[in-house]
């Protein structure tokens, strides 16, 4: 399998009046073709900004720098805005969290699908647009697509709306779909439907999916690999099952332990918590960003930022603890 996306030293800094916010701080990762990559972490971890930075949807005062962001062999950092517009919504598409705000409430679904089609396939006729729109809606499992395409977003339920958003994301010829918390606003049974649908579509079309979420359980259901982010850094990257079963970074361990019913604690007992909260992004600690909340914090953690080390093939972790005889633990 070849790499569809290679990101090297991607950094997104927001230069505000109060100081510089390093939302994403020199991260490197890659995605294989057809791979489902989960990006997890708490709010403020830089997950969404990573997604937006790849398609360069960051407005000033945000600034993106990177050695390279190779998508399908082309460096996205060198593209002009016009060239980026050709890629966005066609080869790389996005699915947002809230289907009510990502759809335009005053246009019909047909018009919103047609918009994508017209942008990326100039010369497409109205009849072709409609036919393709109906085909897409059927693909995402919307019953009675011929009638429903004429409806407005408010006439759909939350789950159906998210299906429409997925249909729009598939309207181009995506090789990479970036889904930012696609099921967070949905009920569990609907979430399960949408996750099943996304998993099926991704494997059918062979496109890669970057699933940004805070929910480790969702990640463990459908992803192949996971990047755990904290304060703009990827602290751990591993195949999903390995990460869930044998987390290495203390933050990943803490996240897993704080999920009720994860097996670590019995009912009615206190949950294991990560003490404190995410540090202020204006005033990040000097060494490891997780050090102030870490139970295993050492002297060196406060002084020096840990380097990302490869523990085993496909498995990286950024922690001073690892690599120092921690493997046999």
């Amino acid at each position: 399998m070849s790499k569809i996306l290679e990101v090297e030293n991607l950094a997104t800094y927001f230069h505000t009046f109060k100081g510089v916010v390093k939302s994403v701080d020199r991260i490197s990762f890659s995605m294989e073709e057809g791979e489902v990559l989960g990006v997890v972490g708490e709010s403020g971890g830089g997950k969404s900004v990573t997604g937006f930075s790849i398609i360069r949807l960051i407005d000033p005062p945000g600034e993106i720098t990177a050695d390279y962001v190779l998508f399908d062999g082309e460096n996205l950092m060198e593209k002009s805005e016009k060239e980026m517009n050709q890629i966005r919504g066609d080869k790389i598409t996005m699915i947002f969290q809230d289907p009510m705000t990502s759809l335009n409430p005053v246009y019909t679904i047909e018009r919103q699908i047609a918009e994508v089609l017209k942008l990326h396939q100039p010369g497409i006729t109205k009849a072709q647009c409609r036919a393709r729109g109906i085909e897409l809606l059927k693909e995402v499992g919307i019953p009675n697509a011929e009638e429903r395409i004429k409806c407005y977003p408010h006439q759909f339920s939350g789950g159906m709306r998210q299906r429409v958003v997925i249909a729009i994301a598939l309207a181009g010829s995506p090789k990479l779909i970036i889904a930012d918390e696609p099921t967070t606003a949905l009920d569990v049974t609907i979430q399960a439907q949408v996750l099943q649908l996304m998993k099926r579509l991704v494997s059918e079309k062979g496109c890669a999916l970057m699933l940004i979420t805070h929910d480790l359980a969702v990640v463990s259901e459908i992803t192949d690999r996971v990047n755990v982010m904290y304060c703009g850094h990827i602290v751990e990257s591993a195949p999903t099952r390995e990460l869930i079963e044998k987390p290495l970074h203390p933050y990943t361990r803490g996240l897993l332990a704080s999920i009720p019913g994860s097996g670590a604690v019995r009912e009615d007992e206190r949950l294991e918590v990560i003490p404190g909260m995410v540090p202020n992004m204006f005033d990040l600690p000097k060494g490891c960003k997780f050090a102030p909340r870490c139970a295993a914090c050492m002297e060196v953690c406060r002084e020096r930022e840990p380097e990302t080390i490869t523990v085993s093939p496909g498995r990286q972790v950024a922690c001073h603890l690892c690599g120092k005889g921690e493997e046999d633990a």
Binding site: G141, V188, Q196, S220, S258, E267, E272
Partner: protein, 334 residues
């Protein structure tokens, strides 16, 4: 143990068409009078023991938040009664209601929307104390507020700040301090952790459990996240479209769910083992709307065991085992 709250046959309906003109419809060549009514809660009964955390779970639109708002007195019930400490709230006059609000407080879901952005944290927490005249002076109220804020984990020097200067988890702590300000016995918590990050969610859940023990509180805990309810609540009820479909102890519901809807909910919840979504057949259909409730079992269009009887006849809650009830025609037959 005694009961602190009993809900009897509670119904809550909202009329969408307020004026007569809205109710008139042109149908088949003549004018008919028809009203659209949202049947949010349809005759539910349950009770909460003193010192217990009782969970109410279900998907959005099932009426769990409406139930909470009706219990706390934000809505007048259409019919049915709510008994607090053995006393019927329907028959209460204004003074008794006022006293009741000291006993019963609510923690809201959205820590961003439930705090007044123009009040300082100190004002937010002292307001209920002063309103219910629980402190002789402002100083006394402030002393109590400092103690409360400290208890929930907000440093006292932050009390003069405004809500926007806090993170979601901190705001939820402020919301908890406000609810506790009048020393209530009973707390209605409407999705108190669903807007929070997991690590913060665990902190808030632990805080709620600590407070429950310290102050011998009783909770009505509303959530859509089954794992949270399983962790915190000893008994729970599952709601679907305004009705309780299954109710029982934590072990009964999670280990032997008897209603097909409960089974679906448990199966559809994503799990860390990564095994649930791929293996389970999730029905493609969605919930019927509350405007047009089916005549029979509300779940029958998504149920894989549905029979013709389910479409026409509403199943009643029946005892499956001691303390475990389920509203399904098939219970005991499967």
């Amino acid at each position: 143990m005694s009961e602190i709250l009993r809900v009897e046959n509670l119904t809550q309906q909202f009329r969408l068409d307020k004026s007569l003109l809205d109710k008139l419809h042109w149908e088949k060549g003549r004018i008919t009078l028809r009203e659209r009514v949202v049947k949010a809660v349809n005759g539910i009964s349950f009770h909460v023991e003193r010192g217990e955390a009782f969970g109410l779970v279900g998907e959005s639109g099932c009426g769990k938040s409406t139930t909470a708002r009706t219990i706390i007195g934000l809505n007048r019930p259409t019919s049915g009664d709510i008994l607090f400490d053995g006393k019927s709230t329907a028959a209460m006059d204004k003074g008794e209601r006022f006293a009741l609000h000291k006993q019963m407080q609510m923690i809201f879901q959205d820590p961003y929307a439930s705090l007044n952005p123009r009040m300082t944290v100190m004002d937010i927490v002292t307001e209920p104390i002063l309103f219910h005249k629980l402190a002789g002076s402002r100083q006394e109220a402030e002393q109590r507020a400092y103690a409360l804020l400290e208890r929930v984990g907000i440093r006292p020097e932050l009390a003069s700040r405004f809500p926007h200067q806090f993170s979601g988890g901190q705001r939820q702590r402020i919301g908890i301090a406000r609810a506790l300000a009048v020393n209530p016995q009973f707390i209605v918590a409407d999705e108190p952790v669903s807007a929070l990050d997991v690590s913060i969610q665990a902190q808030i859940l632990n805080l709620l459990m600590d407070l429950k023990e310290e102050r011998s509180l009783s909770y009505l805990f509303i959530a859509h996240d089954l794992s949270v309810v399983r962790h915190l609540c000893s008994r729970l009820a599952v709601m679907y479209l305004g009705r309780i479909v299954e109710m029982g102890s934590r072990e009964q519901i999670f280990e032997h769910p008897s209603h097909p809807y409960t089974q679906l909910l448990l199966a559809a919840a994503p799990k860390l083992t990564g095994s649930s979504i791929a293996g389970y057949e999730i029905p493609e259909k969605e919930m019927p709307t509350v405007l047009d409730l089916p005549k029979g079992c509300a779940f029958c269009n998504r149920c894989r065991y549905a029979s013709p009887q389910c479409e026409t006849e509403l199943p009643a809650l029946r005892e499956v085992e001691l303390g475990h009830v389920s509203a399904c025609h098939l219970c005991g037959k499967k």
